[in-house]
């Protein structure tokens, strides 16, 4: 599980850009995530970061996500994070009290709803 290489998959679902991330997001990979979000939000109303297959997430990742969210907010692009509540990664958002501010939801359906 921990050996899964880091991957980024970007897709469009309606007017939303879904960025699915696989593997670990840490100091080495967080900048990539941030760059990918910056690149991919043009002409869209919503960016969904799917962390379902992320096995590790540290403060660098949180920082990157927080920066991206602020950046998107300036462009009026909605930001959602998918992290199932039964995954260890979700815990990181809970601990840092970022579940609300970063709009962390349980599933992709939730993220794409409303």
């Amino acid at each position: 599980m921990s050996d899964t290489p880091f991957q980024l998959r970007s897709s469009r679902v309606g007017d939303a850009v879904v960025l699915a991330i696989v593997g670990e997001i840490d100091m080495a990979t967080a900048p990539e995530v941030e760059r990918a979000i910056d690149r991919g939000h043009d002409g869209t109303r919503r960016v969904v970061i799917d962390l379902t297959e992320v096995t590790f997430l540290d403060s660098s990742a949180l920082n990157a996500l927080v920066h991206s969210q602020r950046n998107l907010a300036e462009h009026d692009v909605a930001f959602r994070i998918v992290s199932p509540s039964d995954h260890a990664v979700r815990n990181v958002f809970e601990i840092t009290h970022l579940t609300g501010p970063l709009s962390v939801v349980d599933s992709l359906d939730d993220a794409l709803a409303d």
Binding site: S2, D3, D26, A28, D58, S60, I95, T96
Partner: protein, 855 residues
């Protein structure tokens, strides 16, 4: 080494001449003994014949002696009776007898011969022509007529004196002899007989007075006068001896019994035969005694001569044996010295030869070693141990030889004498001479503490020849020792001084110089612990010996160390090492890599015997032979392969060079199997124990051996990883930490939190500590939790400069603080240390650990 071998070949000859010599002298000795014995028995035979002749002479002598005695007795008897006849004849001429005046005659008789007095103890009487006793000196009633008596009738018939046979006296009523003479009247007419009777009792008494035992007197009628007038039983014998003058006969005695010797002689006057009748044994007793004495003395002489002969030949044999022993000692000394490679072995060989050659001495050999005499002793003497084990005696005696060759009497060595009298007697002198030293200082000394007061010149020659041999051998041995010590020092300098060991990982390397060990070898072992906690082990062998092989070995070992630090894969390390081999030498080696956190073993071999992996819990031994390539010099980089195995909790790994298992004429496969069994059965695994067991079973190694033994107990393994200040290294660190925590049986959710906290601490180090100077290492260490408390340290050597946005910073630290029960960040001049502590939810591995503690 080659020098020694050559020398050995020269010396190993057979001691043929000694055997021949021994055989010859044995034959000669046998002849001498046979000749001596023959001479002795011949002389003894002659002596016995002579003794026998003397015995015969002595017997004749005894018979003659007997005859002479009996002849003397006969003469005595004749003389005695002649005297008595004369006495009676003169009495017959007395007037009273001539004139037949009876009362006067009786008075005369009583006057001349009182009754009972000798010679006529039985009385005297005159018998007239009619036979009537007319006058007598005996009192009492008249005797009456004696006309019927033989003696009366003979006197009447012959008018001559007559001695009667034994008869019973009419008046005295006991055996008597009667001597009768005729009496004549004044006109010369025959008037009667004058008779005197002699009691035989008195004769018997006189016989006793004469001292003749066994004397017999036989009268005319064959009556034994001294035997109560009994008749001689053996009439045949009597017939033979009667009427002869004198003689000796053997056979039955007069009484007809026994084996007797009878000497006889005739006494003419009374007509008797006098005889001495004795048993043969009593006659020849003295002759027999003389013979016995003679024989005893001959026997004694024979025994004496034989004893002397035996003594002399024994001594000759001992001398011959000593000679042979010395000859043997000489040749065996040569052989022993040729194979002796240390001064101590030279001394032992010398001692063995000396103690054999001088059985009456304690042999002491002292070798000059670093300015001191190293003394040892040996002896074949009984009870010599008290001497050979007395250090003081040896210390005193040994130096006496330094100024030799000389003999020092113990009289002049009071201290030594006092010591030896406490420990053993009989020693009289010390004979000693130096070993070598003709061109300077002696290399040692020989001293013989001996029962002999002095040594013969040939003894000295033996000692000197031993000393000369030993001197040459000692010179060789010292040279050998120097070469050996140099080689060992050099070899040690080429091998790693220390091997990385830590909690749960123990490494032991061993190098054993094979053969004579005077040259460095090309075997090596090495181990490198990488910053990520993995350990690379390597054992290799450069073919050949000497400086060339050692140089190549040293280069290979250092090349390995360099690549092992940088590379994780054993195959990759080997591929890089191949580039540095110039292809001249044949090199084999094996590289094994252990990841104690991930529990993984990887290995690769080039032409090397397979390392053996022992699972200590199951006892199973695995040969690591799944990734083999040809040796260096043959193998191409593409040939190099790698194999991976999961690592059990408790394992031992043995890597070795072929010197351990290769023996001439032995199957390598069997030897590897044996090695596996040794690993399984040896309770405490050490290189020494393994070497000893192997040497016990298949003999000591002929060649050099390098051994590397690893013991791993993953329960005890601490986490110790150093990562570069590079964000991309974090992932690997987390992976290892996860594996380690999992092996420590920490719940995966909890472990995830710990991993995140550690990762955050590392982030800080990488992001802040090395922002300017880049690339310095970050060290993450932790020991297995004790009492449920897990403590992890993250250290760096950078300087903390907190200039990141506070919110971002805060998240990292907030995570750490939230995930751990204690987060302590110490920043100093030399770096930062973050100490993370967490009380684990469940006492980790309590039960499993206890369960595993029981094998």
């Amino acid at each position: 080494m080659s020098y020694l071998r050559r020398h050995r070949a020269e010396i190993s000859g057979e001691p043929g001449p000694v055997d021949v010599l021994e055989r010859d002298s044995r034959v000669l000795r046998r002849w001498i003994v046979a000749a001596g014995c023959a001479a002795v028995f011949l002389l003894a035979g002659i002596s016995i014949v002579l003794a026998w002749q003397q015995y015969d002479d002595a017997k004749k002598q005894a018979r003659n002696d007997l005859r002479a005695r009996v002849v003397a007795v006969a003469a005595l008897v004749d003389t005695s009776f002649t005297g008595q006849i004369q006495t009676l004849t003169s009495m017959a001429g007395a007037p009273s007898v001539v004139q037949r005046q009876l009362p006067r005659m009786e008075g005369y008789f009583r006057r001349v011969s009182r009754p009972g007095a000798p010679p006529f103890t039985g009385g005297i009487g005159w018998i007239d022509r009619t036979g009537m006793v007319r006058a007598t000196n005996l009192p009492g009633s008249p005797i009456g007529s004696l006309s019927s008596r033989e003696y009366f009738r003979r006197v009447v018939a012959t008018h001559k004196p007559y001695v009667s046979a034994g008869l019973i006296g009419k008046k005295v009523r006991q055996p008597v002899i009667v001597v009768a003479v005729p009496t004549f009247g004044p006109g010369g007419d025959f008037t009667g007989a004058l008779a005197g009777s002699i009691l035989l009792k008195t004769v018997a008494q006189s016989r006793l007075a004469l001292g003749y035992g066994n004397l017999q007197l036989v009268d005319r009628n064959g009556q034994l006068l001294l035997g109560g007038l009994a008749h001689v039983t053996n009439t045949v014998l009597l017939g033979r001896i009667r009427g002869k003058g004198a003689g000796v006969v053997s056979g039955r005695g007069l009484e007809g019994s026994g084996d007797h010797v009878v000497a006889f002689a005739a006494a003419g006057v009374p007509g008797w035969v006098t005889a001495i009748d004795r048993s043969r044994s009593s006659v020849y007793a003295s002759a027999r005694h003389a013979l016995l004495l003679e024989l005893v003395s001959v026997l004694a002489a024979v025994l004496l001569v034989v004893a002397i002969l035996v003594f002399v030949t024994r001594r000759a044999r001992r001398e011959a044996e000593l000679y042979n022993e010395r000859a043997r000692a000489w040749s065996s000394l040569g052989r022993a010295l040729a194979s002796a490679s240390t001064p101590a072995q030279v001394a032992d060989a010398l001692l063995a030869s000396l103690s054999g050659s001088f059985p009456n001495a304690v042999a002491i050999v002292a070798i000059e070693t670093h300015g001191r005499l190293q003394v040892r002793a040996a002896s074949r003497m009984v009870r010599a141990r008290r001497i050979t084990e007395s250090a003081r005696i040896l210390e005193l005696a040994a130096p006496l030889g330094l100024e030799g060759p000389r003999t020092v009497s113990l009289e002049h060595q009071p201290e030594l004498r006092d010591l030896y009298t406490k420990t053993g007697r009989g020693m009289r002198a010390v004979h000693g001479l130096p070993i070598g030293g003709s061109d300077g200082k002696p290399a040692g000394t020989i001293a013989l503490l001996s029962t002999a007061a002095h040594l013969e010149s040939h003894d000295w020659a033996v000692v000197r020849s031993f000393a000369d041999q030993a001197a040459r051998a000692l010179e060789r041995a010292w040279r050998f020792v120097q070469e050996h010590e140099l080689a060992v020092r050099l070899q040690r300098s080429l091998l790693p001084e220390r091997l990385p060991s830590g909690d749960g990982i123990e490494l032991a390397g061993h190098y054993l110089a094979g053969g004579d060990a005077v040259e460095v070898g090309g075997d090596w072992y090495d181990a490198v612990r990488r910053p990520d906690g993995t350990v690379h082990l390597c054992v290799g062998d450069v073919s050949g010996k000497g400086i060339g092989a050692a140089t190549v070995m040293s280069r290979q070992r250092h090349t390995f160390e360099v690549y092992a630090h940088d590379l994780a894969s054993p195959a990759e390390i080997i591929r890089r090492m191949l580039r540095h081999a110039d292809g001249e030498e044949m090199i084999t080696f094996a590289v094994v890599t252990l990841d104690p956190y991930a529990g993984e073993l990887r290995y690769s071999c080039v032409g090397h015997p397979p390392p053996l992996l022992l699972d200590r819990d199951s006892g199973e031994v695995t040969r690591l032979d799944g990734a083999s390539a040809p040796p260096v010099g043959v193998a191409m980089p593409i040939d190099i392969v790698e194999a991976t195995l999961p690592l059990s909790d408790r394992v031992a790994l043995l890597m070795y060079t072929d010197g351990l298992i290769e023996r001439r004429g032995r199957n390598i496969e069997d030897a590897i199997a044996l090695l596996g069994r040794v690993l399984q059965s040896e309770p405490v695994l050490t290189p020494d124990a393994i070497l000893a067991r192997i040497a016990d079973t298949i003999g000591s190694p002929d060649d050099d051996v390098a051994l590397l033994l690893l013991s791993l107990d993953r329960e005890q393994v601490s986490f110790d990883v150093e990562l570069p200040a590079d964000p991309t290294a974090l992932r690997d660190m987390r992976s290892r930490l996860r594996a380690w925590l999992a092996h420590c049986r920490i719940d995966s959710d909890e472990a995830a939190g710990v991993v995140l906290a550690v990762s955050e601490a590392c982030n800080n180090s990488i992001e802040h500590a090395y922002r300017d100077n880049g690339g310095g290492p970050v060290k993450v260490t932790s020991a297995p939790a004790e009492h449920g408390l897990l403590r992890i340290l993250v250290e760096d050597h950078g300087s903390w400069r907190d200039d990141a946005p506070s919110a971002d910073r805060g998240r990292g630290i907030g995570l750490m603080e939230h995930l751990m029960h204690s987060t302590d960040i110490q920043t100093g001049l030399h770096g930062t240390r973050v100490t993370l502590e967490r009380r684990l939810r469940i006492e980790p591995s309590l039960e499993p650990e206890h369960a595993r503690a029981i094998p």
